[in-house]
């Protein structure tokens, strides 16, 4: 660490005095028009003066201000400093300097060059990435120098790719060949893009480039299949979450709950409310999402309890009429939420650990939010199955659904069990809403989009069978995603719907039909 700093310092001191003036000269450009800014960033990157890092970072983060006299000021946590000297400055009346994408690209490249030897490993990795994306012949010596010092294999790998990419735009044919070979040995889609882009300028190396691209393609094919598989699982987990509550209320109790989607929506709005309430409490704010899970369960479960006790209980034995009733209730809940929260979307932010892309083994990229939702849905499924199988409440629930009169004769208060079961199913729907708030709109229409799929999943899996629901949702998710590249998003869905309809012809009671007398009811 100290050695690195020393090298940095030596680099800075070794620069002749004129170069320091050049820094001041170039710096002024950062406050100019977009063209001037991009040019200034390029110059600052080439100059190699580490003082340029702070103002360029500030510019890309929107913290660089310009006073009326043209002085550039960096807004810091505590106050403000002058960009040129680092001296404290007065930021009153200064305006934020705006940038556009062209400037962002230039800044990224320039910062990458300057930070290749940064003491911070994360910065070096980002720098290698940035330099990789803006290859130029002048990066070659910089990368050579950085590689000589780099010890971390992950960063080295990235730097070598960046070096290869920069070599590819050099003039020396041997260097180009080396670059192509390195890029071809990777399994990076970006490397593939760089190779393809190089085709136009390198007609003489076309054969090598094509071979390198083909090599990358072979490695990517496997990864692409894995990606599709994950996408299917992810869609399946969303279907599972949406359908689980229904599998209880519809599958176990036989209530056609058209307001199921509205309970999902209530769960999503609960997430929003919890997040709003905890926003200004520093200790709790990061836990808003986990805390939303019990909150949503309670809100939706309470809603379900009220609905069951107040309305549905009068309709047992008339399942099709519950459809009508719950349709009406769903309409009212939706409109009530619309009037209370407005028709617009509500913003539910994702915690940092649910943002961005994660790399699984073999460099398979998966989005963090979907991975978490997948894991959550599986864990949640296990929990529900366990609750039904191993708790007293689960036992009573199964008893009541299997033979109500016998259960009552055994002393089970069937009314109470009905109410709790419905509340339980509704609560599960609420929890699904917490998860869905991370990938979909939080709007009054949220639930409407899932209700049909949910019913289909439950029926396909076999009414009354939680395992069937699990298999059905993942099965349908996978089939949908495998078909999608061939048929397009819409037709894939149509095919899945038709396939399910045909399947039910063959097995009228789903994948896992209920056996015994209950099945005939």
């Amino acid at each position: 660490m100290a050695r690195l700093l020393a090298i940095l310092l030596m680099l800075a001191l070794a620069l002749p005095a004129r170069a320091q003036d050049a820094f001041i000269d170039a710096l002024a450009g950062l406050g100019g028009g977009f063209g001037a800014q991009a040019e200034a960033a390029d110059r600052l990157g080439t100059l190699g003066d580490p003082r340029a890092i702070a103002p360029m970072r500030a510019l890309s983060d929107g913290r660089l201000l310009r006073r009326a006299d043209g002085t550039l000021i960096i807004r810091t946590d505590g106050g403000a400093i002058e960009a040129a000297t680092g001296a404290p400055a007065d930021a009153t009346g200064a305006e934020t300097v705006r940038i556009n994408n062209r400037v962002r690209v230039a800044l990224r490249g320039a910062l990458g060059k300057l930070q290749l030897v940064s003491p911070d490993a994360g910065e070096r990795l980002a720098a290698a990435e940035a330099v990789f994306r803006s290859p130029s012949a002048e990066n070659v010596p910089l990368l050579d120098a950085a590689l000589a010092r780099e010890t971390q294999p992950r960063i080295r790998e990235r730097m070598e790719l960046a070096l290869a990419a920069s070599r590819l735009v050099a003039t020396d044919a041997a260097q180009k060949r080396a670059g192509i070979a390195t890029l071809g040995a990777s399994s990076s889609p970006e490397a593939r893009a760089i190779l393809l882009e190089a085709r136009a300028q390198n007609a003489d190396l076309l054969a090598e480039i094509e071979a390198a691209v083909a090599a990358i393609d072979r490695r990517l094919a496997v990864r692409r299949a894995a990606e599709t598989f994950f996408q299917g699982l992810s869609l399946g987990s969303v279907l599972l979450l949406a359908a689980l509550g229904l599998a209880v209320t519809f599958g176990v109790m036989g209530v056609i709950n058209m307001a199921h989607g509205e309970f999902v929506m209530l769960g999503a709005y609960t997430t929003f409310l919890v997040q709003q309430a905890l926003r200004d409490i520093p200790g709790l704010a990061p836990f808003a999402l986990p805390l939303s899970i019990p909150a949503a369960f309670l809100v939706a479960g309470l809603g379900g309890l009220l609905m069951e006790r107040g309305l549905i209980r009068h309709l047992y034995g008339r399942p099709l009429e519950t459809l009508l009733l719950t349709f009406g209730v769903g309409m009212m809940i939706q409109q009530a939420v619309r009037l209370a929260f407005g028709a617009q979307n509500r913003e539910v932010t994702s915690p940092p650990w649910m943002q961005g892309t994660l790399l699984l083994p073999f460099d398979i990229p998966v989005t963090a939010n979907r991975l978490w939702i997948l894991l959550f849905s599986l864990a949640f499924f296990v929990l529900i199955v366990a609750a039904i199988r191993f708790t007293r409440f689960g036992l009573e629930m199964r008893a009541v659904t299997q033979r109500r009169p016998i259960a009552a004769a055994m002393g089970i208060r069937t009314g109470r069990v009905d109410a709790l079961t419905f509340a339980f199913g509704s609560g599960i729907a609420g929890i699904a809403g917490v998860a869905l708030s991370q990938i979909d709109n939080v709007s009054p229409n949220l639930g409407t989009g899932y209700i049909i799929d949910s019913f289909l999943v439950v029926v396909f899996g076999g009414v009354g069978s939680l395992a069937g629901t699990l298999i059905a949702s993942f099965g349908l998710g996978l089939i949908n995603k495998v078909l999608e590249p061939w048929a397009g998003a819409v037709l894939a869905k149509v095919f899945v719907l038709v396939a399910v309809m045909v399947f039910i012809q063959r097995r009228p009671r789903g994948l896992f039909p209920q056996k015994g007398r209950a099945a005939e009811a």
């Binding site: 309709l315 008339r318 399942p319 459809l323 009508l324 009406g328 009212m332 719907l497 045909v502 012809q505």
Partner: protein
């Protein structure tokens, strides 16, 4: 579940209802005539009321068809809107062909949407729709065939109850997604609009509206009589028996599949007819008609009016839609509460629907 239809009800009520029905039909039939009175006249019926009640009549036919399937054969179809929409599309295709060179781009054959989507010639499935007779045939045949295939598959496999409901819902949902696609050649989301004429009548005139109104009213009466006839004969008795105890009827040696299939196909054709009458009156057909919500709404009309009574279905369609028309203007923010509340109240307190209310009073 009470299987009592009106036949079992006291005769005084039956007579009263029959008189009420005939009176209501006569009153409706007078609408276009009263429309001709000066606006200041106390009995004047506005253009709006004529056009909107024409629409309600179409909904009533749809409700009637659904009641035949649900109320008598026990087939709760959550996809009847699909048959309605298919009939509407068949009629819409005819209307589009009649526009001819009067479209925006002036193409002699192709409808506007095909012109700007780059079609060179008419897709094969559009051929023949320039003929009114062919189009009317399709209005009945397309929904009928779909019902035949779906019904045959389902009834043969003895799919009943909620399973059947979910399958029909999936059917209408799949059709909606398919029709939304612009590549299907049915105009995508926009569907068909800007119709010009039908059978030589320009559509934007009072005369055309009155004609369509009477056509719908006559269709309603004919469909009602047809349903009555079907349900009052021995066939209808068997159907009701199937609804109440399918297995027993099967063991008695009846061909359950064929009985149900006949009712389902007839019902789908009626729904198609309703759609065909609906489209020229509202001036648009688009995939939104396939949306599962619409089909559920139709079920709601039947339930509100009184399932298993043909008059009830008609009454339900008129009252719910009338209420909706009124409330979406009178209480635009709150109408969903009123309508939703009505559905809840009807299921809880009026299990036999509005007709049940009348029956109760008749006793």
């Amino acid at each position: 579940m009470s299987a009592t239809t009106l036949d079992a009800a006291p005769s005084r009520l039956r007579l009263g209802l029959r008189a009420g029905m005939i009176g209501a039909v006569c009153l409706l039939a007078a609408f276009p005539v009263l429309n001709q009175l000066p606006e200041t006249h106390a009995l004047h019926v506005s253009d709006f009321l004529v056009s909107v009640s024409g629409k309600w009549i179409c909904y009533a036919i749809l409700a009637l068809s659904l009641d035949l399937a649900w109320g008598y054969a026990g087939i709760l179809s959550l996809g009847h809107g699909a048959f309605f929409a298919l009939g509407g599309y068949a009629m819409g295709m005819h209307l589009m062909r009649l526009i001819g060179p009067r479209g925006v781009y002036g193409h002699p054959v192709l409808p506007d949407f095909m012109v700007f989507l780059g079609y060179r010639e008419l897709p094969w499935y559009w051929l023949g729709f320039d003929s009114f007779a062919f189009a009317m045939l399709m209005v009945l045949l397309v929904p009928g065939m779909l019902a035949l295939v779906l019904g045959w598959l389902c009834f043969r496999s003895r799919i009943t109850g909620v399973y059947l409901s979910i399958i029909t819902q999936a059917m209408t949902y799949a059709l909606m997604l398919a029709f939304f696609r612009n590549d299907m050649g049915f105009g995508g989301n926009n569907g068909f609009t800007d119709f010009k004429e039908l059978l030589g009548m320009p559509l934007n005139t009072g005369a055309a509206r009155a004609t369509l109104f009477y056509a719908s009213l006559v269709s309603l009466v004919v469909c009602y009589l047809l349903c009555r006839w079907m349900t009052a004969t021995k066939y209808g008795r068997v159907l009701t028996a199937i609804r109440d105890a399918e297995s027993r009827v099967r063991f008695l040696g009846y061909d359950v599949t064929r009985h149900k299939l006949f009712a389902f196909v007839a019902s789908a054709m009626m729904a198609g007819l309703a759609g065909a009458l609906y489209v020229p009156q509202v001036g648009i057909i688009n995939p939104g008609e396939f949306s599962p919500g619409n089909s559920i709404e139709a079920v709601v009309w039947v339930a509100v009016g009184g399932r298993g009574t043909l008059v009830g279905a008609v009454l339900g369609a008129f009252s719910v839609n009338g209420l909706k028309t009124w409330l979406t203007s009178a209480a635009p923010d709150l109408w969903l509460f009123v309508l939703g509340g009505l559905f809840v109240a009807v299921t809880l307190f009026l299990p036999k629907g509005l007709i049940g209310l009348l029956q109760g009073r008749g006793k």
